[in-house]
């Protein structure tokens, strides 16, 4: 099977390249540039510490993005179940390895990076749901019995992720999955009753949470209760953001972040460092970039002429935006510290890779929006 087999015959390679969503690529590169600049600053003006690796990963990921985008969407449709299956195998593998290694290991060491299968699994879940709803009529989509497959598709990986235990990722998969079911036309009352049900079950779930998870929520509700522990991070992050002011302290001048008051400044708290140094201007600039990305993805999804592409593009977009919201809301003290990276910006291989794979699929939906995806 040569690569050209995966490409549609009625377009030349040059045409396809031109049809790539270059606007989206520019937006992605801009967000990544914010990340690399922040990592350079986080290392105290040291490019080699984090920024270089991040740049290399981004470069490799961008090549992957273009390759994925140029493959006809119908092949991705056909490969959905194998991909889902491989993702599940990797999750089971880390689960077994984690038990053997006596610790909560969530990654596979690939040598050059540590791969977290749960990140990639999210995309596989979205693909599987898109495929499931692709051939469904609205009547089918409204039928409760049609929900059996989505529930299995969502909760099989959720169960494995919960065993790791990684509550944050599990919730993310559920939310992304729910968004897919919602956009495919499942009845509204289903979601209302799910929300009510979830609210009621909070006290029950509370019993099953790990102590550190309970503590995070408690600290979130009352940060002052633990000024030396988890609340300390939120307080320090808020001080750093607030002290940045409108104009920011200037590149490499972020005092709070640099003095190690801020933990994980290169990963989860990278947004804090960015807005401390670049102020409200920098923050709004980054939020605008995200806004444009959301709109572009939405547009791609709406312009797509087949259900698989629509659901896939929007599903990936929702997943991406969930990360953006959760991370930024967390560092600004709006929600508990859950440990979610800011996609494309935070230091980390898997989240970068997952984001770029997702955008590759979205762009494939854009290029091959007329593709005849077999039912």
């Amino acid at each position: 099977m040569s690569y050209s087999m995966f490409m549609q015959d009625d377009m030349s390679f040059r045409q396809k390249l031109l049809k790539l969503n270059w606007w989206l690529i520019i937006l992605i590169c801009s967000v990544a540039a914010v990340g690399i600049a922040s990592l350079y600053s986080a290392a105290g003006g040291d490019f080699d510490r984090w920024a270089l690796r991040q740049l290399m990963r981004f470069g490799v990921g961008m090549v992957g993005l273009v390759v994925i985008a140029l493959i006809d969407i119908k092949w991705w449709y056909r490969l959905t179940w194998p991909i889902y299956f491989i993702g599940m195998m990797m999750l089971v593998f880390v689960e077994i390895k984690g038990h053997v290694g006596m610790g909560a290991q969530r990654w596979i060491n690939l040598g050059f990076m540590q791969l977290q299968p749960s990140e990639l699994m999210k995309i596989a879940v979205i693909m599987a749901l898109a495929r499931h709803y692709h051939g469904a009529s609205i009547e089918q989509a409204r039928r409760l019995s049609f929900l059996i497959v989505p529930i299995l598709v969502i909760f099989a990986p959720v169960a494995l992720v919960l065993m790791q235990p990684d509550l944050g990722t599990a919730l993310m998969i559920i939310m992304a999955g729910a968004a897919m079911v919602f956009m495919a036309g499942a009845p509204i009352w289903l979601f209302i009753s799910a929300i009510v049900g979830a609210t009621v079950s909070v006290p029950i779930i509370w019993q099953f949470l790990h102590e550190y998870q309970k503590k995070r929520i408690r600290t979130f509700l009352d940060p002052e209760s633990d000024p030396l522990g988890a609340g300390y991070h939120i307080t320090q992050s808020k001080i750093a953001i607030g002290s940045g002011g409108v104009e920011g302290k200037g590149f490499l001048q972020g005092t709070q972040s640099h003095l190690n008051f801020l933990p994980e400044k290169q990963t989860d708290f990278i947004f804090t460092l960015w807005v401390e140094e670049w102020g409200l201007f920098g923050g709004v600039f980054l939020l605008m970039l995200f806004l444009f990305i959301f709109i572009t993805v939405l547009r791609t999804s709406l312009r797509c002429r087949h259900n698989f592409g629509r659901y896939l593009a929007l599903g990936v977009g929702v997943n991406f935006s969930l990360y953006v919201f959760i991370n930024i809301a967390m560092v600004m003290g709006l929600i508990p510290v859950v440990g979610a990276p800011l996609p494309l910006v935070s230091y980390g291989g898997t989240s970068m890779l997952a984001a770029l794979i997702g955008f590759g699929l979205i762009m494939s939906c854009g290029i091959y929006r007329h593709s005849k995806v077999t039912r």
Partner: protein
């Protein structure tokens, strides 16, 4: 197609709904950001500029080490040091240069500070120089306004008032090494200038002496000055260690050993096993090690023939020579080969298996029984007996008396010595055991090796009625008693022990005793013992013929001089063993030292207080440290760990 259009319509509607949620979400994030940075911006700016929270590690004061009377052997002295906080100086090089003009500072130190400053956070102080004199402190203090970032600080430093006298037992502390950091993750190790125990008791009880670090959460202003303390967890002071050592006796032992090039001695209690003094000369000044040695000082310590860093009292292994004869005698008595009336004729030479074995005395001792054989240290008596007893019985007796094994003293470097037997020779050397080996082993030569500590323990077990005492130097850790009281019986006949002791009494007090010149004349203080002279090299026939005296040989080839003894003779309490390396003869070099030590021991009588020290006797008056009614150094009364 109708259905498709309908579902497309629903999808479009729901996609727009999701899209608006995303926009609203971004709106919320943007508003929150604006609120934090505009509305709250000023507040957070002051928080960030004016005050930061800093965690400061509070080092615990190290526990004291005191002797049995409570006299300090290792204490914490105060030391002045000059430090710099690079954040408070615009140009640290300029500050350091200015400081260099005021007090004497090495260029090496300046370089080190600059290097360290580039690596550590700017608000962490860096040590420039330690151990400042009063004059230097005053000079720096006066010029402080011209020295931005520089300040003077008082810190603790370990000090050993007895200097080299207690160097081996007490040990010393030294800067934390890389290996220490790998083995131990106590955060206090990372403090600048922190030190850990490296040898002796300082090492053995390092964890207990160290205590636990505390922590203070302090608010610091923009230039790093502490504004106020928010939270505090006090440090838990290290525990005090009370040794069984008598500091003054220890110092005296060091003094009397110092007439020789290299020697060691142990004074211990025959009944309890407590060590009163353990000296190894030459030693070193541990205070030097605390502050760090210059290369010349280091060379001086390592090049010394007497190996100052080695505690020879526990790690030096010597052929015990004639001091081993009591063991052979006890083995012979037990086997029934001899009794007190067995006489042997000594004619200088003993021919066995075609070889001749010599007695040390020219023309021999004539007819001798056991007591006489010990008194005059006749070799032939033991040669003849040993061939009948056999090596395995002798080796068994030696092990009963603590030879050939580690005795478990709280000091590293302890050696096991060596008691050879048939199995050992086969296993280690792969050779058959010959009677000739038994003959030379019977007088503690050949492969037999023992440490001064083992020789003292051996003697203690002989004179305390045959109980298996073991040596110990730590009386109390904090207020927990660690000493020992009851010892098992070795199962040796009392009459045999008495006979051997008669021999040892004769050695010192008999008409022909080898140590007669070292006897203690003071009534009631008499000592008994046994001399030993161990060959470092075999005496060749050539030397014997030419009559070359041992003292004509180079130092390294001369015999070792040994003595084991006890006093008072009638009611033994103090045990003393002395080894003078290459001291030529036990009676001329080792016995006089033992005499002095046993005399001094009885005068000072450290055993009169069984670990119940009250008042120090070293001239200065010390506060009553024992028993501790309440923690004096803050043990257990601080912190809420």
């Amino acid at each position: 197609m109708h259905h498709d259009e309908y579902s497309e319509k629903i999808f479009t509607r729901r996609a727009f709904f999701i899209g608006s949620l995303q926009v609203i979400g971004l709106g919320i994030l943007g508003s929150r950001l604006a609120w934090l940075q505009i509305a709250q911006g000023k507040r957070y700016k002051t928080l960030s500029d004016k005050n930061r929270i800093n965690i400061k590690i509070l080092p615990p004061p190290r526990g004291q080490i005191v002797d049995r009377f409570g006299v300090p052997l290792a204490v914490n002295a105060q030391i002045y040091r000059v430090l710099i906080i690079s954040e408070q100086s615009d140009d640290i090089m300029a500050s350091l240069k200015a400081l260099q003009k005021i007090i004497d500072i090495d260029d090496k130190d300046i370089k080190r500070v600059i290097k360290q400053a580039s690596k550590t956070a700017k608000f962490i102080p860096i040590k420039i120089k330690e151990g400042l004199s009063w004059g230097e402190v005053a000079k720096v203090e006066v010029n402080l306004p011209d020295l931005p970032g520089i300040f003077i600080d008082v810190g603790d430093i370990r000090s050993y008032p007895y200097r080299d006298a207690t160097a081996h037992v007490v040990g010393y502390v030294r800067s934390v090494s890389k290996e220490d950091l790998e083995k131990d993750n106590d955060p206090v190790l990372r403090l600048p200038g922190f030190r850990v125990g490296k040898t002796g008791i300082e090492k053995f009880y390092d964890r207990a002496l160290r205590g636990r670090a505390g922590a203070a959460e302090v608010e610091v202003n923009v230039i790093g000055r502490e504004v106020r303390e928010l939270k505090r967890k006090n440090a838990l002071a290290g525990k005090r260690v009370t040794l069984t050592i008598d500091g003054e006796l220890q110092r005296y032992a060091m003094e009397v050993l110092s007439v020789h090039k290299s020697a060691s001695a142990v004074v211990m209690d025959a009944h309890s096993g407590a060590i009163y003094a353990m000296a190894s000369y030459p030693a070193f000044d541990p205070n030097m090690f605390v502050r760090g040695l210059s290369s010349e000082e280091w060379k001086e310590v390592t090049d010394n023939l007497g190996k100052p860093q080695t505690n020879k009292a526990v790690s030096g292994q010597y052929p015990p020579a004639s001091t081993f004869k009591m063991i052979t005698a006890l083995a012979g008595l037990k086997a029934g080969v001899i009794d007190k009336n067995t006489f042997v004729f000594c004619s200088e030479k003993y021919e066995f298996g075609g070889k001749s074995f010599h007695c040390w005395k020219k023309y021999g001792h004539g007819n001798v029984n056991l007591v006489k054989a010990l008194e005059q240290s006749c070799d032939i008596y033991f040669y003849k007996m040993a061939t009948k007893v056999g090596i395995d019985a002798i080796a068994d007796m030696a092990r009963r008396f603590g030879l050939g094994q580690k005795l478990g003293i709280e000091l590293s470097q302890e050696s096991a010595g060596l008691i050879p037997d048939v199995a050992w020779k086969k296993q280690v050397l792969g050779q058959k055991w010959y009677q000739g080996d038994t003959i030379i082993s019977s007088i503690g030569q050949g492969d037999v090796l023992a440490t001064p500590l083992q020789l003292a323990v051996m003697t203690a077990r002989m004179v305390n009625g045959g109980f298996a005492v073991k040596p110990w130097v730590t009386g109390y850790l904090g207020d927990k008693f660690l000493g020992h009281k009851k010892w098992e019986s070795l199962g040796i006949s009392k009459s045999h022990l008495k006979l051997v002791m008669q021999g040892m009494e004769a050695v010192v007090n008999g008409k022909n005793g080898t140590a007669r010149s070292s006897r203690i004349e003071r009534k009631g203080f008499e000592m008994a013992g046994k001399t030993g002279t161990s060959q470092v090299q075999r005496i060749t026939m050539e030397q014997r013929r030419q009559g070359i005296k041992n003292e004509d040989l180079p130092w390294k080839q001369r015999h070792h001089a040994l003595f084991v003894g006890y006093a008072p003779m009638k009611n033994p309490r103090y045990i003393c063993s002395v080894v003078v390396e290459h001291g030529i003869g036990g009676s001329r070099a080792a016995a006089p030292i033992a005499k002095l030590l046993l005399e001094k021991s009885q005068i000072r009588d450290p055993a009169r207080i069984q670990m119940q020290p009250e008042i120090a006797e070293s001239g200065t008056s010390f506060p009553v440290l024992w028993p501790p009614k309440k923690p004096i150094y803050g043990e257990n009364n601080q912190g809420d760990f």
